[in-house]
Subunit: 170 residues, 2 copies
DNA sequence: TCGACTCGCTTGCAATTAGCAAGTCACAGT
DNA sequence: ACTGTGACTTGCTAATTGCAAGCGAGTCGA
């Protein structure tokens, strides 16, 4: 399981997608965040086929974002919980939720409200800069090859920049 | 195209996933953010089959996150650009990138650095609260049905809470 | 003790989606 | 006329998903 092709790429977006990009994976995570832990809870909430659910859960456990925890010995029964690594995926879901609320919600409003306990209010996620704390806006962000970039990635980056400059000029 | 089953759900995470959840979709977006605009640039950068790429692009255009723009009349040539709606998906990618850098990067460091022009430094995304500006941490967030929740969603939410309380007690 | 039920799965099989290689079409340049 | 470019299709195979049914180990109720 997991999308091997993505896992091999040297890209910090593609690698998480090797397991998050499978259909249902992010919805399973959503449910785990909402406190659903057991197979049948998840299945009925999601409406997913049980074989697919068991595959997804196995992958999530494999990737270390969830763990399978026995809550009963006789009979043996298991539930799934997020690990720290899994909980750190919350920003991904919050970002998607914020976008979904903005662009796909019905007139009545969003179906789920997220509340920030520190201030007590329903919020949406705002992405900010770890360095200066300012809000991140696409106009004021740019990418460049990092220390782990391959030669090929650098080459491609330079070429792309050259081409875009050319187009700009024309 | 697009995952019909997800589009119909009353959930602000599931609905974006109706097109973002298809394999390659988020990587196509990543490339569009990096300034790649033309079919062959995208194809060679991604290493995706051309039929799949053209399907994905069509879906993104359909959903209004990208637009097909003619840059030459003779011969007719097209490129793809993000719309405002598409650029607003950047937090999703930044969140994934931050997680990927943290958990999947090689010892040399991340392959891509994102720089915040306002402060000039490489950053990672930090999710903050739109209401108080504080950093969002899973421990201090909770969800609850919003104004657009269906009766069934409310019922399910209450039942889940009841069950979790029970388990806590035991 | 018998039958019904619950939970957490598998199995088998059909339908959908993704991937690969090759081809197409309209031009452009030489 | 001949090669090349850009943006795709087409045809076909492989992989993934979805559906329905079943299973095994136990629990519960009569």
């Amino acid at each position: 399981m997991a999308i091997e092709a993505f896992a091999k790429l040297n890209c910090s977006v593609a690698r998480p997608l090797s397991f998050l990009g499978e259909r249902w994976a992010l919805l399973v995570l959503r449910d785990l965040f909402l406190g659903r832990r057991r197979f049948d809870e998840l299945q009925e909430s999601l409406g997913v086929a049980s074989n697919v659910l068991s595959q997804r859960l196995a992958t999530l456990v494999d990737e270390g974002v969830a763990e399978r925890h026995r809550y009963s010995e006789h009979p043996e029964r298991f539930e799934y919980r997020l690990t720290e690594k899994g909980r750190d995926l919350q920003p991904v879901l919050l970002a998607m939720l914020a976008w979904g609320d903005r662009y796909t919600a019905r007139p009545e409003g969003p179906p789920l409200e997220t509340v920030h306990d520190d201030c007590g209010k329903p919020f949406h996620m705002v992405p900010t800069c770890s360095e200066c704390g300012g809000e991140l806006n696409w106009r004021h962000i740019h990418g460049r090859p990092g220390p782990g970039a391959t030669e090929e990635q650098r080459r491609r980056f330079d070429e792309q920049r050259r081409r875009n400059a050319e187009r700009q000029a024309a």
